[in-house]
Symmetry: C2
Amino acid sequence: MPKEKTYSIGVDIGGTKMTGVLFDGAHAVADYTLATPKDDLVSFINVLVALIEPLKERAKKGRLKIKGIGLGIAGALDIPHGVILESPNLPVLDGFNIVEKLKERIEPEWETALDNDANCFTLAEARVGAGRKYQNIVGVTIGTGLGGGWYYEGRIYHGMNSSSREPGQLIIDHTTGLTTEQAFHKITQSNPAILAEEAYRGDPLAEKSFGEIATLLGSMFANIATILEPEMIVVGGGVVQSSDLFLNQATKTMAKYLFNPQTKKVKIVKAKLGPLAGAIGAALLIT
Amino acid sequence: MPKEKTYSIGVDIGGTKMTGVLFDGAHAVADYTLATPKDDLVSFINVLVALIEPLKERAKKGRLKIKGIGLGIAGALDIPHGVILESPNLPVLDGFNIVEKLKERIEPEWETALDNDANCFTLAEARVGAGRKYQNIVGVTIGTGLGGGWYYEGRIYHGMNSSSREPGQLIIDHTTGLTTEQAFHKITQSNPAILAEEAYRGDPLAEKSFGEIATLLGSMFANIATILEPEMIVVGGGVVQSSDLFLNQATKTMAKYLFNPQTKKVKIVKAKLGPLAGAIGAALLIT
């Protein structure tokens, strides 16, 4: 008799939309997306519950046993207590014990877990995505901002006090304290998607901006490689759709900026799981 | 009957001198220093053997059983095979299998080990120095250059391919690829000891330079905290004797440059073991 599969639900809570998946340990067997209410907590909870219900129904119809639910969200988190300390995109959630509320509103006996969204992305790509056959993997998400996480010895590394290890916060000018993410915002004017469209239309200024992005990201990859030297850096997030505009050059810049020939061996690869990666990683928090 | 102590010998091979210790698991019970011959391999080996012999004699007289010998040296190493791939300070050692030669010349049955000098410093401060009561520790050495290592889960983290994780190689200007260490060399004109003397004499230019050093190191500490968030960063190396000229300000700069209040909790502390730290860490490679 084959071993019974374990199912879990994962939800990626973004500033504009929330995506939920029903996950069977290897694949998303159902997914569902709703717009995120930003104005009040009651609406937020109601929509979150509305997102989860159809996935629960789907499991019930298939007689699939759900073990628990994981949530991924940007910001400062108190993971052991399930509390969102500070959410840059959804300030209405600041100080909210989302895990306790979910237990109350969904299924009290489900396991629950919470982690940073970029950590969830990294966990998903490491376990079932581009890093599947590797053990030491940094995930980097390039969207409006620059996030990241590190998968090492079978789990996400969190550091001592805070939940997220964001490469976008690496200082890139020691005299002013300018971060990599701030430099990225300056170049893209906080809208990399529009900049990419302009570059594809052949706008020389936009093309030049992507040259600058390549140098900036190459430098960030070099700094990650200097400290962590993982086997690979998996690059995802919305902007990876335009990776032909910058990723090769960023990889070359990384190699040029590194001294140690051994450290240059770090691979830079594109993510495999697409827009569901965050939700799949949230589901993988339940093991 | 008390448990018999295990003794080991550790040697810190520097560009100008070599220091050896006989180590009892907690303290150096004897230490010895000789100038490093730089010109030919035969003289180098003879002096290395001459450094070890009196420590071996000391153990023999005290009827102490030596388990093995560890070596610490700067540069790119092939640790599993005991080979020095590239030594910046002692190019005569490039490609040399130092561990094999030692076995042949000293005691074939001794255990042997090799690691980067900044990793040895970090291991010593983590196990028996300033980090004794902590588990997650970054060591930073400030001398002519900037070295470092990370102690996590009971051992030094090496990364996938190369042996050393040097924070001095963090890029601090993404447009040019300037590293933290290169910026440090520019400010100190590669002689921080003389610059410190000038600052203590009240030279305003030298004092200004130490302000720049504080900003540079604060930025480096912030980048280490962003990626690793250890409990503490232990700062050692020759320049730590002048730490009153820069360390407080560097710590403030780190806190100013970090966004996450949780990440700001990383402690910056001075090393405790003094100039023997590297040799003690080399001895600790034998366990």
